[in-house]
């Protein structure tokens, strides 16, 4: 296993740098585990705000994780031991393995060696190459920096790499602005594989390219992976590309992993409600499909929804998905004032995270409305009980929970619908 990352978190502090008042945090990655085997392409898909780019930066150490563990190049046996140690709580065994394999606890010289095994390609081909350097110098930089190769050998290698990415050798003396987007990305690829890396991270490598160029680059990536037998992490928002390239896929939403499994299976038969709507939203030529249009937008990563992050938009949300009184209040207010137009004087007050008080409606009327609207207004499903109170009713909601990744149907899903334990 090239990369085995456990429970990675990355929180970015927001707010006054002098630490006045509460420091808020953007929880870009909030407890994500990922495994990248050798000789496999792992797809990481998600939309903006999902945290996929941040995750890519965490495993290449461009960004330091707030917490979590990253093991590099671990033999299968050792990995099994490690996971056993995690489960059983054997801190000594765990620390021993981390001492040998953890990227976060490595010595400077160890890291230098590890860096040789890394390669990364970025989204914007133009911004990936220093405009003041020649192609040759750009490609040589990793080799020289990590001490992998030097001088004449490195120069020869540059030509070899150019040939590998199907660029003519004389390109070595050109400057980036003389190249097209596709050519620039090939140079970036050549640079990334210059040190024969065991891990190749590609962050949206073809998003900025034309579709015909994209096809060429994707074929090239497949070839390279075949030859180097490296583990590849392909980060993309393009599901068709992920389908075409990946063996295994991870789907992220708002900093968490929601579904992971065999790529073709997850994409063709998604189970998690987010994955289902994501896949249904992808336009595919000649396929007419029933689109599941999600309402709303990706959540604010500072003030995340309670319980399951996806519940405000989830078409299948039910009572324990994390509805809070604020959410129910908003929906109820709309229903009472607009749709049902009960009275001018209804008032709803929040009474703690899972309780509300409603004035100006009779409990029977309220009950009837809730019954009628449960189907279309998901938050109402969280109503646990309603007790009459002076002037109205007091409503109590179910307590919500946050789902965790559990195995189901040959994949792992993080959704309460698929958790078999009791509520």
């Amino acid at each position: 296993m090239i990369i085995a990352a456990y429970n990675l978190k990355k929180y970015f502090p927001v707010g006054s740098p002098l630490g006045l008042g509460r420091t808020l945090e953007v929880k870009a990655v909030d407890g994500v585990s990922i495994k990248i085997p050798a000789d496999e392409i792992v797809g990481l898909v998600g939309e903006s705000g999902s945290g996929k780019s941040t995750l890519g930066r965490l495993i290449t150490l461009l960004t330091k994780p707030t917490s979590g563990e990253i093991l590099f190049d671990v033999p299968e046996g050792v990995l099994a031991e490690y996971e056993q140690a995690l489960e059983s709580g054997d801190a000594d065994r765990r620390k021993a393995i981390e001492h040998d394999y953890s990227l976060l606890h490595m010595s400077w010289s160890g890291l230098k060696r590890v860096r040789r095994s890394l390669g990364m390609v970025f989204q914007d081909p133009t911004a990936s190459l220093d405009p003041r350097m020649t192609v040759k110098d750009i490609i040589m930089e990793p080799m020289v920096e990590t001490g992998h190769m030097n001088g004449e050998a490195a120069r020869e290698r540059v030509f070899e790499l150019l040939r590998k990415v199907k660029l003519p050798e004389y390109f070595a003396y050109r400057y980036p602005h003389e190249l097209s987007g596709g050519q620039k990305q090939r140079v970036a690829l050549a640079r990334a594989i210059s040190t024969d890396p065991k891990l190749l991270v590609l962050d949206e490598p073809t998003s900025a390219l034309d579709v015909s160029v994209q096809a060429q680059i994707l074929a090239l990536i497949k070839e390279i992976k075949q030859e180097l037998r490296s583990g590849v992490l392909l980060i993309t928002h393009n599901i068709s590309v992920a389908y075409y390239m990946s063996n295994h896929i991870y789907v992220m939403y708002a900093g968490k992993m929601v579904e992971t499994g065999q790529a073709k299976r997850v994409i063709k038969e998604p189970k998690h409600p987010y994955t289902v709507s994501l896949m249904s939203a992808v336009p595919v030529i000649n396929v007419k499909k029933e689109r599941i249009i999600l309402r709303g937008e990706a959540p604010n990563l500072i003030f995340l929804p309670y319980g399951c992050r996806f519940h405000p938009r989830c078409p299948m949300a039910f009572e324990i998905c994390g509805w809070t009184s604020d959410e129910v209040k908003e929906d109820l207010q709309y229903l009472l004032e607009e749709k049902y137009y009960v009275d001018e004087h209804t008032q709803i007050t929040v009474d703690g995270r899972f309780a509300l008080k409603i004035f100006g409606v009779s409990p029977e009327r309220l009950k009837a409305i809730i019954e009628a609207e449960r189907e279309s207004v998901a938050s109402l499903r969280a109503v646990k009980e309603m007790l009459p109170a002076e002037g109205g009713a007091a409503v109590r909601l179910y307590q919500g929970f946050e789902p965790t990744l559990k195995s189901y149907d040959g994949r792992q899903i993080s959704c309460l619908l698929f958790e078999t334990q009791s509520k």
Partner: protein, 292 residues
Amino acid sequence: METKRESELRLSFKVLFRNKSALVGTVLVLLYFIDAFVMQVYPKLFGITNPNSLVENFASPLPLPPSVLHPLGTTAYGIDLWSSILKAIRFDLAYTLAVVLSGAVIGVILGVISGFVGGALDEFLMRITDIVFSIPYLVLALAVGFVIGRTYTSMIFALALVWWPIYARYGRALTLSIKTLPYVDSARLYGMNGLKILFKHVVPNVLPPVFVQVSVDLGVIMPIFSTLSFIGFIPNANLPELGYLTTLGLNYLQSAPWAVIFPGAIITLFSLAANLMGEGLRDVFDPRRRSE
């Protein structure tokens, strides 16, 4: 497909030459530099024997209008304007370069470090920059003058002190935008340490825009410098210097206007030329405007 490669240098020249006004500006600035160079190395070429002082002619102490003998006329004390201006350009250019270059070097170094390191250091340096920025140059020059003494050297010092904040801000802004680019990330990925990244990736990309700013600033500083000596701030300045020459003619403004106009015009002309040249250079260096 083989795109025909236009040599970068040729394209740079082409870009500069397309802009007619920039071309004129560049040529003019070059003329000033040539004059300074000649004055330094071989003043006899222009028939000047003492390039470091003004030659008085007490035989005819009143300013004379332009004539064959004195192509630009004379000013007070019978000082010939043409030769004096030629001598003065060298001094003014030297002082201006001293101010701009030292300001730029100090400012850019501070700005780049501030932007690159970030955090508390950045905040601290920026606050200092803000404070110095808010000081009007004239006031500072006067203050420095009264402390260190009023000489040309101390004026260079005072002006450079006031001028570096602009470069600090500029350098910092450029550094901030470069810092987040993927090619810097790529270098960091392979363990390149901060200092190396600074010199290999950040500085080479910061310098060209700074260079453009320097050329424009030449045109801004020279008049400022001349102003300082014009207001008589520097005593005992029997040195060929454009501001001083203008002062000399001041008494005769009504009767011999050329004594004031010519030195003044030379200053203004340089300002304009440097500005035009700077605009042209901007087109040459900015990759986006280049391909336009």
